[in-house]
């Protein structure tokens, strides 16, 4: 597909072009690290982040949203009012996570209207990763720092220019429409793109998941031992770009109220605890097993995909320093 280049000094022109398409959300630096936020032509985009603090799922599946409102007249669906949005400079791992969530939220039988309304209106420009963190392992999962699938346009940041490549038809149309701001790609830029990817891959420690071995490990004592230091805080799941468990609950004031959807986590004891008091996953080890097995065994069974993109957020943010890679290694040893 079409490849073009842009001098870094012309970034403002690209932002203006994107703003014509809709709301533009891109990584911006904050005290807590880079996060996605709506930008204007004047905003400084943080291109040199390893990964944004909060996963991309929140753009489509917010932590809290109203599903419906009810009153004396019954229950009425809440529309998301999703606006056309360009997500700019998204890491390929986060883009992959959205392809996985599509399988859950938009399956053959039931389409989630809240997720889908936002998904349908979003254009994604991915940004290849040049400096993965020590906790990154996308390459080990067969994905890689410059994976294009899922994006509309793939971008590569070089020393003083950017290379853009159309990935989808929508991406092709965007580049054509804005051809006046781009220039032809130089051969040395393509060489730099290839070198950047190869260097990024070299930087990442390798990690292997033996799914076959994992499936044999049902011993509760083994799982309890790897979950011993877990605080059951759920940080790993809330920050995971593919974790999608949620709860629905009602808020009521007088005769009126609303049904709300909030992120939930299999790491919480209450998650599966029934009103009778029975809990099929009463032990921390049961819940750790569920989180790991859902990603690396059940998802492959159902979707032929591991529900992990190797972003490392669960490792970086665990208050007990539990490392997913070590957990899997210990369990399958």
């Amino acid at each position: 597909m079409t490849q073009v280049a842009l001098n870094s000094t012309n970034m403002k022109k690209l932002i203006a072009a994107m703003l014509k398409e809709g709301v533009v959300r891109a990584p911006v630096e904050t005290e807590d690290g880079a996060i996605f936020a709506a930008i204007t032509e004047k905003s400084a985009i943080a291109f040199d982040y390893a990964n944004v603090k909060l996963p991309l799922k929140r753009e489509f599946f917010p932590q809290r949203e109203t599903v419906s409102r009810f009153g004396v007249d019954g229950m009425v669906e809440e529309k998301t009012g999703a606006k056309k949005t360009v997500l700019f400079a998204v890491r390929p791992c986060d883009v992959q996570s959205i392809l996985y969530l599509d399988k859950v939220f938009i399956d053959d039988k039931y389409q989630d209207p809240y997720y889908q309304s936002r998904r349908d209106k979003t254009f994604i420009i991915a940004l290849a990763c040049s400096s993965p963190a020590s906790t990154c392992f996308c390459e080990s999962l067969g994905q890689g720092p410059a994976r294009k699938s899922g994006s509309d346009v793939m971008a590569y940041k070089l020393s003083d220019s950017f290379v853009f490549e159309a990935v989808s038809e929508k991406g092709e149309a965007f580049i054509k429409k804005n051809k006046s701001i781009f220039r032809a790609v130089m051969p040395k830029e393509l060489q730099a793109v290839a070198k950047q990817e190869a260097d990024a891959i070299k930087k990442m420690p390798r990690f292997e998941v033996n799914i076959g071995a994992l499936r044999q490990k049902n011993d509760p004592a083994l799982w309890n031992s790897v979950a011993e230091t877990c605080l059951s805080c759920g940080a790993c799941t809330f920050l995971c770009p593919t974790c999608h468990c949620f709860d629905l609950f009602d808020e009521k004031h007088g005769d009126e109220g609303r049904r709300i959807r909030v992120h939930d986590a299999c790491m919480f004891e209450q998650f599966t605890k029934e009103a009778s008091g029975h809990n099929p996953r009463a032990q921390k080890g049961d819940r750790m097993r569920q989180r790991i097995m859902h990603k690396f065994s059940y998802a492959p069974e159902n979707f032929r995909l591991m529900f992990c993109v190797g972003c490392g957020r669960c490792i970086v943010n665990c208050p007990s320093n539990i490392d997913l890679r070590e957990t899997i290694a210990k369990v399958t040893a």
């Binding site: 669906e77 389409q111 989630d112 949620f246 629905l248 009521k252 049904r259 099929p280 069974e301």
Partner: protein, 286 residues
Amino acid sequence: MSTIQSNPYIPAPVTVDKVFVENDAKDLKTFRLAFRNKNDEAAFKYKSGQFAMLSVPGAGESPVGIASSPLDKGYIEFTVKRYPTGVVTTAMHDLSEGDTMGVRGPLGNSFPLDELKGKNLVIIGGGFAFTTLRSTIRYLLTDAVRGDYGSITILYGARSAGELLYKSELEQWQKRGDLTTYITVDKGDDSWKGRVGLVPIVLKEVAPSAANAHCLVCGPPIMLKFTIPPLLELGFAPEAILTSLERKMSCGIGKCGRCNVGGIYVCKDGPVFAYSQIRDIPENGF
């Protein structure tokens, strides 16, 4: 108002038509519900074994098996157990006839009754897990349907006589000549003239034949744990033992992740499973 087809999260409004108190403890009630809108009623085509999310606006939603027969027209029925900590079930028990609530569904798969035509059926239930089996039995005993199946044997048990569900129907079934019915209670009392004994024990005593037969068995995990081995001993193949799993659920449509056990989602892959499908899942509960 949206219909359930356009947005799978929006319940159809229903009116509580009748409430039947089922047991002495008064914590089991059957709710007969009527759809407010004809379109919603027409769209709610279900089979025995399916469930729905019952919704009390302000309290929330809970998954409950459908207890009426697919051939019952003009209403649907659900039997709901109230738990002191159950927000939705308590709210439902506080409803009166004429009140409004919501129904989302039908959801999940069903007992494969069409595939079982010509077979003998052994139906075993324990406690208040008998609800979707009651739907099945009501369906099977319909004049137009009964002839499609061979012998039907029902074994139903509860903790005590006062805890048996659907008492008037049980009496009617016992009078019929075209089925064999064993009703048992764990603990007898002066008023109970019938059989006393736990379901697995009675199963061994009455030993229904496994020849050309399938067994539908629903009950608490502890009952399943002790009922499945004698069924296997009687010669029922793991594929011919069908049960229904229960799990906490939020969405009922395979998205919220709550009912995931092993590689299956109870809500969309079940709730009905052959024993052969779930026996190796560590969290199957029995």
